[in-house]
């Protein structure tokens, strides 16, 4: 009975430590009956393509109470979770973003058509102006 109290106290202490690190814990017992405490933080990582991908980092501390001693085994596992939607750009840019850029390029080139037609008209006027004269005086 004494050992159980000691183990419980140790578990509470670990949870308190976890609370002071990041955010509120989501604590409870895992299927094996171990006491667990988790903290989550969110942030962004920058990829080589200058994209910022939101990620969630979760630290889970598991306290394993032993039945016949005061010894407490602790294991802290830190995992980083990337949202499924953003995961396509976490490793290397896929084709989606490139296709979006291709649409932008197409728009830019389409806009140029009007400019080039205008330049053709300008050049026609340039040529015509060089064939003009001042001979209307006296006509």
């Amino acid at each position: 009975m004494h050992s159980k109290r000691l183990a419980l106290a140790a578990g509470i202490a670990v949870v308190l430590v976890a609370c002071t690190t990041n955010g509120l814990p989501a604590s409870g017992d895992d299927p094996a009956g171990n006491n667990t405490a988790s903290t989550s933080t969110t942030g962004v990582v920058r990829t080589a393509g200058s994209q910022q991908i939101p990620v969630t980092t979760t630290s889970t501390t598991t306290t394993v109470p032993t039945a016949d001693s005061v010894a407490v085994e602790e294991e802290t596992v830190t995992t980083t979770t990337v949202p499924v939607q953003a995961s396509t750009t976490t490793t290397a840019p896929g084709t989606d973003d490139i296709e979006e850029i291709l649409v932008v390029i197409e728009d830019l080139l389409s806009d140029l058509d009007g400019q080039l037609d205008g330049l053709d008209a300008d050049l026609a006027e340039v040529t015509a102006s060089l064939n003009a004269d001042e001979g209307d005086i006296g006509q």
């Binding site: 080589a48 393509g49 290397a92 840019p93 896929g94 084709t95 973003d97 490139i98 296709e99 850029i101 291709l102 932008v104 390029i105 197409e106 830019l108 080139l109 806009d111 140029l112 400019q115 080039l116 205008g118 330049l119 053709d120 300008d122 050049l123 006027e125 340039v126 040529t127 102006s129 060089l130 003009a132 004269d133 001042e134 001979g135 209307d136 005086i137 006296g138 006509q139």
Partner: protein
């Protein structure tokens, strides 16, 4: 009799051969045109001073109308730089003022001798059609080249970004990169040949006719034509680069 008719026909034909070039030359030689108003008529058909003044007024009005048109076009241009606009609009205003003053002097003239001195100035002191209009057209075209080059630069930068991302994703972008380099070369050539034309010709004045104005305007036209070819080639290369990227990533 037949021989006499043949001689008359030959004579008339020969007379026409001499007369046609003389007419053409008269239209291209503004100075002679101006003096012919007075000199090419003999005493019996010489136009009255009022008739000469009327023709001079029409010539001035035509130039003033041209200057008004230029003022409106340059003022509304979306491509011309503010500096070029300011320079040209200032010149148009000065020319309009000068032509109007000349018109008043002509109307006040009382002798043919006075008119002989004043009328040539309509063309020679302003060169609206030989200098002002051509240089205005070239400044406008040159500034449009600058605008097109800027847009091409933007498109080329965007193509480069697509290529970079494709390469990061592991796609072979060598064809697209080749076309991009080709486009960059053409853009650079258009920038080098077309954009400086505006500053080369905008300072030309009436007194610069016939040289150096004529040569510089011809050179400006040639460079602008080259720039037009270069920007079209650059656009075509960017389109090919875009298609090469599509092919590389297997896009439709």
């Amino acid at each position: 009799m037949k021989r006499l008719r043949r001689l008359i026909a030959v004579g008339v034909a020969a007379g026409m051969l001499f007369a046609i070039p003389a007419t053409a030359n008269a239209q291209t030689d503004e100075t002679r045109d101006a003096t012919e108003v007075i000199d090419t008529t003999d005493a019996t058909t010489r136009p009255s001073i009022d008739k000469i003044k009327e023709r001079a007024a029409a010539a001035i009005d035509r130039r003033l109308a041209t200057l008004d048109t230029l003022t409106e076009r340059v003022g509304n241009s979306k491509h011309m730089t503010d500096r070029h606009k300011g320079t040209l609009l200032g010149e148009y205003a000065t020319a309009s003022f000068g032509l109007s003053a000349l018109g008043r002097d002509i109307q006040a003239a009382e002798t043919l001798e006075e008119l002989r001195n004043l009328i040539p100035a309509i063309a020679e002191d302003f060169r609206i059609y030989l200098v002002v209009v051509p240089k205005s057209r070239q400044v406008g075209a040159s500034d449009r080249v600058a605008d097109v080059v800027e847009r091409l630069d933007e498109a080329a930068d965007t193509v480069a970004e697509a290529i970079r991302r494709g390469e990061e994703a592991g796609y072979d972008m060598s064809d697209a990169r080749w076309w991009l380099v080709s486009a960059r070369d053409d853009i650079a050539e258009a920038r080098r040949t077309g954009i400086p034309v505006a500053d080369d010709v905008i300072g030309l004045q009436a007194s610069d006719w016939e040289e150096p104005a004529s040569s510089r305007l011809q050179e400006g036209r040639r460079r602008l034509e080259n720039a037009r070819v270069d920007v079209r080639k650059a656009k075509l290369s960017l389109e090919k680069a875009r298609r090469a990227i599509e092919d590389a990533i297997g896009s439709d």
